[in-house]
């Protein structure tokens, strides 16, 4: 029996020959490698004195929140299940890994990633470590929750409770309304 996919993230990819910029669904987009992501995460992690990891999480949240919210508006996506599925699909489309929300509620949520560009890229570059490093993913799941419920960016605190980079079989995230 075949299973119909109810929701699919529609990619409208354009290349502007004049500016030589790529855009996806109206937002300028660019390819970068795992070395770049790993070094951004390392810089954020090292910058403890001014909470660099939070800055990287927040910068990710701000960026992705705009993309997700804009998509829901333009495609008139109102249904909760569809919104959740689309946030999972978009993350995969970007190449950041697989994301699955285990449960979603307005005050709390949990999600996991069986694969993660940031974690697997970090391991590829430097090997494992005992602390989470996926600040980009943390920001994304917070952005996803805010966009799903139509709340402002920054509406959820996120905690990474297990990490692939630390040897877990999946990275797990817990979210609580701030």
């Amino acid at each position: 029996m075949s299973t119909e996919q109810l929701t699919q993230w529609v990619v409208d990819h354009k290349f502007d020959r004049d500016t030589c910029r790529h855009s996806v669904n109206g937002f300028d987009a660019v390819l970068h490698c795992h070395h770049y992501a790993s070094l951004y995460c390392q810089l954020a992690d090292d910058a403890e004195s001014f909470n660099g990891s939070h800055l990287l999480q927040r910068s990710s949240e701000l960026s992705f929140y705009d993309v997700l919210s804009d998509y829901f508006t333009k495609h008139n996506v109102q249904n909760l299940d569809e919104r959740v599925a689309l946030t999972e699909e978009y993350w995969k489309t970007c190449g950041f890994g697989t994301l699955k929300f285990d449960h979603v509620g307005e005050l709390s949520a949990a999600a996991h990633m069986d694969h993660s560009h940031v974690d697997e890229g970090w391991i590829k570059k430097w090997g494992k470590r005992d602390k989470p490093v996926n600040f980009i993913g943390q920001g994304y799941v917070a952005a996803a929750m805010a966009a799903i419920y139509g709340l402002p960016s920054g509406s959820y605190n996120v905690y990474e409770t297990d990490s692939i980079v630390a040897g877990a079989d999946a990275s797990r995230f817990s979210l609580v309304r701030s």
């Binding site: 490698c33 800055l55 910068s59 960026s63 069986d114 590829k124 980009i136």
Partner: protein, 202 residues
């Protein structure tokens, strides 16, 4: 220079990146993502404006270093790729100089910066101009006191490493950081274009 930039840009801009079942995009010997440019700009902007002023040069150097390593490894993946072989290599008559020209055409095609090499002294110096680049988007009105195209700086130096720094070293222990880059003009500073001067690290 025998490389036809327009041919390279038209062809390489059409190369698609699609994720596999694991949500990953293995390409050019690395894992890549295709994210909004703001994803990278936001962090650079937040971190350079959050540090104490005396630490800002260190933060900027680390941002540039991230791009330098990215440019070195991904750059090598690009110039040894099937796509580069099919599209660029037939035009290359004078390596590694022509490879550099082609690499900046690819750099342009992939939306990193609309850029070209405007001066090249083999093994010594390269000047790159960028006429449009996403890193300048952090300024929407007014101008910055100093430039902020850390990614172009790092990648430009890395491309010179690949051209003249010796054999590619996957570990990055040798060959990388034989060149350094200084951004002397920036759209974000009110200039018509960004200009990047790459010289031997010394």
């Amino acid at each position: 220079m025998s490389v036809d930039r327009n041919v390279v840009i038209d062809a390489m801009s059409q190369v698609k990146s699609e994720s596999n079942d694991e949500g990953l995009i293995p390409a050019f010997n690395v894992l890549v993502t295709q994210a909004p440019t703001s994803r990278w700009n936001n962090f650079a902007d937040l971190i350079t404006n959050s540090v104490d002023p005396e630490l800002k040069p260190a933060a900027e150097a680390l941002l540039e270093n991230a791009a330098h390593e990215c440019g070195y490894h991904t750059g090598y993946g690009i110039i040894t790729s099937e796509e580069f072989d099919a599209i660029c290599n037939p035009m290359i008559q004078n390596p590694p100089e022509d490879v550099l020209h082609a690499a900046f055409a690819v750099f342009t095609a992939w939306g990193w910066a609309k850029s070209e090499v405007v001066e090249l002294i083999p093994g010594e110096k390269m000047v790159v101009r960028a006429y449009d680049y996403y890193e300048s988007d952090v300024v929407q009105r007014g101008t910055l006191n100093g430039p902020c195209a850390y990614m172009i700086q790092g990648v430009s130096a890395a491309f010179m490493d690949l051209a003249y720094g010796g054999e590619y070293d996957p570990s990055g222990q040798t060959g990388m950081r034989t060149f350094k880059c200084e951004q002397v003009k920036g759209i974000e500073c009110g200039d018509e274009y960004g200009e990047f001067v790459v010289t031997l690290a010394g």
